[in-house]
Symmetry: C2
Subunit: 325 residues, 2 copies
Amino acid sequence: MIVSYAELAGTLERALAALGLEPDRAPRCAQLIADSTRDGVPSHGLNLFPRVASMIRRGAIDPRARAIRVAGRGALERWDGRRGVGALNAFDAMQAAIAGARASGIACVALGNTNHWMRGGSYGWQAADAGAIALCWTNTLPNLPPWGAASPRIGNNPLVVAVPRARGHVVLDMAMSQFSYGALASYRARGERLPVAGGFDRDGRLTDDPAAIEASRRPLPIGFWKGSGLAIVLDIIAAALAGGRATHEIGADPEQETGLSQVFIAIDPASLEGAAIDGVADAVVASVQARYPGERTLAARRQHLQQGIEVDDEAWTIARRCASA
Amino acid sequence: MIVSYAELAGTLERALAALGLEPDRAPRCAQLIADSTRDGVPSHGLNLFPRVASMIRRGAIDPRARAIRVAGRGALERWDGRRGVGALNAFDAMQAAIAGARASGIACVALGNTNHWMRGGSYGWQAADAGAIALCWTNTLPNLPPWGAASPRIGNNPLVVAVPRARGHVVLDMAMSQFSYGALASYRARGERLPVAGGFDRDGRLTDDPAAIEASRRPLPIGFWKGSGLAIVLDIIAAALAGGRATHEIGADPEQETGLSQVFIAIDPASLEGAAIDGVADAVVASVQARYPGERTLAARRQHLQQGIEVDDEAWTIARRCASA
């Protein structure tokens, strides 16, 4: 099924309103979900909507809760997400970090007690659209074995780093696993091997067979010991600054994945006279002569705005049913 | 040759003084180099000393220059490293970031026009010793092919993330290459294969043969496309905020590697009442049941303080000759 962006966003807005999001909040949440889908990341857009709906219905997500500032000094703040809608909490936290960066050059909001932020890249694009540099990350439920262990005890803790650029922002959005379970399933469904080793099989051998990794539950951290270490240290920082949960305190069931901790750092390059970030970014992108982070996002966005967005039938049916309830 | 920490640091101090570092600066620089060697990273400690000495003698490093603040707003500052000693510039920049974080919760110093910072982890340990969380990174000369290209057009841009912890700081110090050229040479000299694929051979096939990667000059970024993207975006941020050079503007000869750009972000967790970082870090480290970042550093430190430090003969000879000049 192919739908237009307007149809997707409109349907999601009605669905979210029906789920209890207030009139000033449903449009923003719908936009975040529709944008991720439009940008070629349906796994963290529309396809997550059914889980959000189910978690709202079960009370795991409070559709009316708004994140509030609970502590802080200067440019560092701690917010309580009050188990509200993860994407809206993250958006609000990044807006506050951007405002703080305008005042102080750099600012940080640590957000605890929140829910899945859906596509992390959204908050990088948000900052870059506002002219800010951003670093943000979230912890997750334990879904990745640390290097040297066989069972999932760390999160894949996505890290987002964003730079504003007039000709197309540079936005890196990377989980600490080499391939997500969603990606493994896609390769398997297409009958393909992974382009590089993505995990261990049940016998502890590195493999590029997606089904073998799904069976062992041993996907690889990026860079082996390196990504494992980065996931660990980002988890500690998020939980400590947010006063929230670390990965080991989060349940292993995705439907119960709540109480996450996140960090949003924004830097305002305009604070520094002569910080010619646009020229620097253009020159680096040109020098690399290879794909830069964010390039594929913009290509997908253009294509989907012109040709419509192919949506997952099941998720779309659930969203439409919810919208007309 | 095995030397004590005191002998190593003392010799380096005399050598650096002989090279022109001022009396209030040589001890700190000697300590940074000796600490890295003591901590099991001689490649970025004593073994880099001959290059530093040679660059000072050729005028590429100014041993008396001190980094100065040239712009800023609030908690964001830009410093000019004035082509001074890279390790001292980095130390001073991190000290300023820590002081800024004490005042504002979070602070950032972007340092341009500087030189190789030697072991990046030093500045993570420095921050953690002061009770601060730190994120810092540097760009480098082009030494790594971006994903999708065969020639080195990005830097391996080490990223350091540090968390203070009474029972041993958690400090990640990771370059964006899976293996450094130094590591490749060590594996080759021992006649070993790499534990995982570390690059491409001349025919473009992934290989765990260190000599084949040295020959092709195609080491792998960590996480393939992911580490490649992270190196690119960190380079842009460092060069733009520092008003300095990006990787593509830095010469490919290590002896000419100067004019680097670096970012130092410090966060003071004590700014937030109840930020129980020690307990959070202890619990995460315990939960992982695998090695945490910094663990091996502390083990090497203990061993070397007890048993002395095995030093590279050539580097040690150069340092001693320099010290007695």
